[in-house]
Symmetry: C2
């Protein structure tokens, strides 16, 4: 990494960069000093990844709090990425993709993290990579919130924001739901069963990501009695998903990233970047009305698309074709606008 | 209690009755042998209460799983009842009201309880009281399910069923929600904090009883940071409600009554009693569509009223005037039909 590529512009000071470069991808770790909005100054290690040749237009892809830097497979890193299904091969071939593991996702930082801090971290990653301006940010769920925070703090560094299933603030009902998840994690820790606390918190989260419509079709069976207790049709699936997730997740990481969603609080009018917003009509976590309010307030051209999905909030993961279409259209528009 | 008043009609055998009678009310305990649908034969102590003179037409009033036999204040038992606000003075004065504490609500019965078992218990209470036929059952939430079970098992013993916010079966999404609540209680029981497990389960239940609309207005504030953690606007209210409820609730009672809702499974076509159904459009626990399906299937005259309430499922408690109107109209109709 040539030193000349590092440009600091009101972004956090970088201490160290370690990276490995392959023909079609690059991974690295950047250690930097981050002044958290709520939580003091911390030394943080950022893990980032890029995919695609350096001369291509750059798009940052940011997912939910459980997502990571590996967006899509490359020759260098061939495992499937979390955005693989949505990442249409055409635009993937035409762009360099940047992403990073969320600040706090390794569980090493036990302090209140804000989406503004994640935006500062993205700016630091771009500095390290010598990327001045992003063609676009594609942010889903938490990633949409971070995209909005980045567009607010660095309007000159992104030409187009595509924010899917995220708004400028959390809905109070969703906040209550998440607060209970964090309290269930705390109960698990108190009871010396952190894994079960995490698993139940994840299962609660799943209920907020999905919809009654999906459950009505998928788990339409009377409960069975097992050892004298009723087991509902969805319980085995929920427990399996919860346990698998608990195994790979640090309690601190979950609590701090969950909390980060509740601390997220931006003014729509401070977003001055052309924006494409996507809402799912059935989303119970981020109600479409909140995204409509965001759309009405943004101080730049906005397009709002309301999609339908029986998967509600999880539509950003479970409706890859619809998302791929949105992206193809939005990124084309962006390129036309930039031409 | 004169022995002649005891009439057994395919209802459980009564072992003992102890009761105290006042001019305008009566309370008693009946010990009986109950053959549970799923859980074998058990000796169960039923606690019941009546209010109003013996010659008046009799209405059974049944509430949610947290309700009890004390429906409304009398001279004998002057404390406020759980249905006080909904119980219009006119119809209260014109009826004798019967209710009972749910089988399992004392925590003494640790076995799967079905709504069919509660219906058998109600029949036993009526036998003990010498009541052949009820003018009406007013059932709310769990009470609506028990009312449907009673109408199915004893169509000749009730002339009119008023079932508010209850259906013939639970919705699979609501079942998943309740199953998680029971699992949170189990987590609390692991070591030594049953109260916190119960409190969190209740808080989760509250989220299912209420609506995002209510929370959006009521808890519209950014979180505050307390000892380095975010506290959302609703957390204090939820924690207070959860703790107060946990203090007065047995874990076994909660788990078995919660489970009882999920075991509830009736055929609408087996209900052959004139029925008034009430749904709340915003009810996320008992979706109006499920009550519409019930209405379509009942083999008797049915009236369905869909009310609106920002309190969702809890509308049966939080919209006393609307409920009082429904009752006045429904009970008038019933009396006309019987005249």
């Amino acid at each position: 990494m040539p030193a000349a590529a590092i440009r600091i512009r009101q972004t956090p000071p970088v201490l160290r960069v370690v990276s490995e470069r392959a023909p079609d991808a690059q991974r690295g770790e950047t250690t930097l000093i981050l002044s958290l909005k709520h939580g003091g100054t911390h030394e943080v290690r950022l893990r980032w990844e890029t995919r695609g040749a350096a001369h291509l237009p750059v798009v940052a892809v940011l997912g939910g709090i459980s997502a990571n830097r590996h967006v899509a497979a490359s020759h260098a890193y061939p495992e499937r990425g979390w955005f693989e299904a949505q990442a249409d091969a055409r635009w993937l071939a035409a762009h360099r993709v940047v992403s990073f593991d969320w600040v706090g996702s390794d569980g090493a930082l036990d302090a209140p993290i804000d989406t503004v801090d994640q935006a500062a971290a993205l700016a630091a990653v771009l500095d390290v990579l010598g990327i001045d301006t992003l063609d676009a940010i594609i942010g889903c769920s938490y990633g949409a919130m971070v995209g909005l925070a980045f567009a607010t703090a660095h309007p000159a560094r992104v030409q187009h924001l595509i924010a899917i299933a995220g708004a400028h603030r959390p809905h109070p009902f969703a906040s209550a739901w998440r607060a209970l998840q964090r309290n269930v994690v705390a109960l698990g820790q108190l009871q010396c069963d952190e894994a079960q606390g995490l698993s139940l918190a994840r299962q609660l989260a799943l209920l907020s990501y999905r919809t009654p419509e999906e459950f009505g079709v998928r788990f339409d069976a009377t409960p069975i009695l097992e050892s004298g207790s009723a087991r509902c049709a969805s319980e085995a699936w929920l427990a399996e998903r919860g346990a698998a997730w608990a195994q790979k997740t640090s309690a601190t990481a979950f609590v701090r990233l969950s909390e980060s969603i509740d601390l997220h609080d931006l003014l729509p009018s401070h977003v001055r970047v052309p924006t494409t917003l996507v809402a799912f009509a059935e989303d119970r976590l981020v109600p479409p009305d909140d995204i409509r309010a965001l759309a009405a307030g943004i101080a730049a051209p906005v397009r709002l698309q309301v999609l339908h999905s029986p998967y509600g909030h999880d539509g950003f993961l479970k409706e890859p074709e619809a998302i791929a279409q949105v992206l193809a259209r939005a990124l084309d528009c962006c390129e036309e606008a930039c031409a």
